[in-house]
Amino acid sequence: MNQITIGDIVRGDREVFPPYLYEAYQSTRRRAPMLPLIEVPLTLSELTGPGSAISAITPEDADLTRNAGTGDEAIGQRIIVTGRVLDDRGTPVPNTLLEIWQANAAGRYLHKRDQWPGPLDPNFLGMGRCLTNQEGVYRFLTIRPGAYPWLNHPNAWRPAHIHFSLFGPSMLSRLVTQMYFPDDPLHQLDPILNAVPTEAARKSLIAVYDHGITESEWALGYRWDIVVRGAAATPFDSKERER
């Protein structure tokens, strides 16, 4: 992470969203678009969206400690991750699909492309999903993921994180992001988190430990609220045009 070149092409608010080109994260170099994004009007095509259109969700899907279906429980510190999905006016987003995936307690993903010598856990798939309730609340039971080594730069480690994918009320609210844990010394070394342009926006990706969610002799509690663009949103304020 020596030379950091940061591109100028950003989708959405430059105070919130990362640029496509962030050279310290090497995979951006040949995948980031280099031409200006096109400003377009919002139409019915953007103000609609698939909602919860994917598959039947069961309560077991939200319990990653047991949804491997082996009858045994995943190894690791049991945690509850919960929060609300809100639009930018603070209105809860009900009945929206969240899909999550994560490494196991040792930092290993169950994926053929993850071959580092961390142990796999036969009782942990690392995948979950749920729908928000009428108050926009989601809740997962899982284990705290370990840090994950990658080959981006020498001795590179991703801070512990959980991947989140959610839809929200329209195409404007589609979001794929990552949730981090508080007080992790790897945050400042991670080019993916640091591609987010401001301290405030980076902080929005870090869950808060909440003792009110923690359950005695069961699991530690983390709260993480997610704010997505509402269907009544105006087009992204184009700082591009002002420059």
């Binding site: 496509y20 995948r31 994004l37 400003e39 919002l42 995936w101 995948m127 994918s165 329209s170 269907a231």
Partner: protein, 193 residues
């Protein structure tokens, strides 16, 4: 009006497939036998700045039904919904960077009280190395109403062809080929949406 700051975006990374492409979450086939409309197959490759296929991308589409209606509460045209068509697709890419969908050609969707949009499909692209997803549209090259489409007009003329899917004859249905070029001289026109 004061609004809450939005939650930022992060890359989908390399390990999403077991979750986002699990058997009951992948959506290559959008049609059922009773779905109304002209069957089409959409396929193409996702390519990086070196022209190399991207084998670990995720492509999602969202489209209106054959009557030009979206399966969504905000749909105010109250045109006919097709109970056998949701309009959402999700495909991974493989070694050749290929994604594909079996769907129907959407009808024209209103733009405002007077104008119509040409038939189009909303396309969203996620991949390792994309810190935020990319948004664009697929239009049909053989569609005469493209010339009047108010969104396509926003795209500089020399980049408009990147949004036109090319029609080819197929065994069962017409194939529309649509390359998604992330970077380079033929870079797809992506939207600030």
């Amino acid at each position: 009006m004061k609004t809450l700051p939005l939650t930022s975006s992060q890359t989908v990374g390399p390990f999403f497939a077991p979750t986002l492409l699990r058997t009951d979450a992948v959506r290559n086939v959008l049609v059922q036998p009773e779905t109304v409309g002209e069957r089409i197959r959409i396929e193409g490759r996702v390519l990086d700045g070196d022209g190399v296929p991207v084998p670990d991308a995720l492509v999602e589409i969202w489209q209106a039904n054959a009557h030009g209606c979206y399966n969504h509460p905000a749909e105010q045209e109250a045109g006919p919904l097709d109970p056998s068509f949701v309009g959402f697709g999700r495909s991974g890419t493989e070694n050749e960077g290929l994604y594909w969908f079996e769907t129907i050609k959407p009808g024209p969707v209103p733009f405002d009280q007077e104008r119509w949009q040409a038939p189009h499909i909303c396309v969203t692209v996620f991949a390792r190395g994309l810190l935020n997803h990319l948004v664009t549209r697929l239009y049909f090259e053989d569609e005469p109403t493209n010339a009047g489409d108010p969104v396509l007009q926003c795209v500089p003329e020399d980049r408009r062809a990147t949004l036109l899917a090319r029609r080819e004859a197929g065994d069962i249905a017409a194939v529309y080929r649509f390359a998604i070029v992330l970077q380079g001289p033929n870079e797809t026109a992506f939207f600030n949406l």
